[in-house]
């Protein structure tokens, strides 16, 4: 009996995991761009390697952005961004872990839905609880999610030297665009 139970419980847990996985969407090529305008120089960067997982069942959202994958117009800017500002050696990723609020799963396929995204945004090792507006839509079996919001570097202890302080805006506008494909398998199974 004892043995049987020990075997049985993990099986139950695994089964629960499998059902939870339904309604999950994943991308490894999410697009994140940011832009900051200032009188002297506009700063713009693109990243096409953001990972994101959205669970429609529970409304949970997880996003992971590799800092080194941001491309800038200027090579030197990109180097400074990694070396001095975001310190990607120490903090290789920016992450978001939170929830989609206000989604109506039943009508997602019928057009864009305005939602609120709430959760913990971690940049440069500093975490802040944020609430930002977003848009989601289920199109061709792909879950498309976008959000635009602003981030103040100072909030995330991103130090800007006095000499270039005028060059860099106080807030940076960030845009996230995700096109996630449904995850068919259980979460533990890995795609080759």
């Amino acid at each position: 009996m004892k043995r049987f139970l020990f075997l049985f419980i993990p099986t139950l847990l695994a089964a629960a995991g499998a059902t939870m996985a339904q309604g999950r969407y994943l991308t490894k090529t999410g697009r994140v761009t940011f832009f900051s305008a200032s009188p002297i120089e506009d700063i713009e960067a693109q990243n096409q390697q953001a990972g994101a997982m959205i669970d429609l069942g529970s409304g949970q959202v997880a996003i992971s952005i590799p800092i080194r994958s941001f491309t800038f117009k200027r090579t030197l800017m990109q180097e400074h961004f990694n070396e001095n500002y975001l310190e990607s050696d120490k903090f290789p990723k920016a992450t978001f872990s939170g929830k989609l609020l206000g989604t109506n799963a039943a009508t997602l396929g019928q057009g864009q839905q305005k939602v609120t995204v709430e959760g913990d945004l971690t940049i440069h090792g500093v975490t802040h609880h944020v609430t930002v507006p977003g848009v989601v839509e289920l199109k061709n079996n792909q879950l498309q999610a976008t959000a635009t919001f602003s981030v103040a570097p100072a909030d995330y202890k991103i130090e800007i030297p006095l000499l270039v302080r005028d060059k860099i805006a106080k807030t940076v506008s960030v845009r996230v665009a995700l096109a996630c494909d449904p995850v068919a398998t259980t979460p533990s199974a890995k795609t080759p």
Binding site: Q46, Q60, A62, K73
Partner: protein, 303 residues
Amino acid sequence: MNRTLYSLLLTGGLLLGAAAPALAQDDLLNELEKETTDPQRREVVQATFKGTHIVNSQSIETPGKGTLAFLIQHRFGTLNSGAYEFFGLDQAELRLSFEYGLSNRLALGVGRTKLGKTFDGFVKYRALQQSTGAGAMPVSLSLLASAAIVTTKFATVPGVEGRDASSRLAYTYQALLARKFSPSLSIQLMPTLIHRNYVDTDAEQNDVYALGGAIRQKVSKRIALTADYFYVLPGHTADTYRNAAGLGVDIETGGHVFQLHFTNSQGLIESQFVPQTSGNIWDGDIYFGFTVARNFTVKSNLK
């Protein structure tokens, strides 16, 4: 006994179930990290050195693709030249140069040095790039080839045949081998061959071999200490001249990199400072100088 165990397990299961929603948020992130993190992913190590030059020597770095770098390299006179010469500040050697990145690996450069009214052109190719991940490369290797032509007017002596143009040329071949050991420490080795088409006396060498070494140690996010040294292999040149040594500070200020230098060499290109350095550091033949690099983006990296 069995009952107790059963109820214990049941309670445990319920507790786990209740705890799950609170943890789920981070679980999803952990799962995502598992899905997306690929330790095999190859990543090139960036910024082994701040600039394309260390003190006297060139570094493995090239301006990135589509970047044009404008360099002003300056050497004042020696510190021991006294108050009358304002400790060297009255004299100045200068090199102006442009370097352009054709790709992220290949760069071309042209320069003009006051000493000998010398024009030079060089090609630098990043043959190997230090990387992490699958098939990690432990070091970076850049190959440098440079040609320099002296354009000062030769004195014409009646009855003596003048020197031809090829005698004005000198070539440098260097393998720059570097490793970034940590975010703050980088070390470079530089086997060097200088070929001079013309030397004044038979005893002097047309081919001079040297081994250079350089180091960069960051002291803060934007300031680094640098040093480089060239050991000239035994021969007439090594007996007559001194090994070039330099100490420097790199200061990064947004779009510029300022490099402040102290060195016993007045020349600013390899064919000058490797075989022709005469300053004796211990006598105070130290030249103060600086290099300023300004980068211009000719072609944007963004699509």
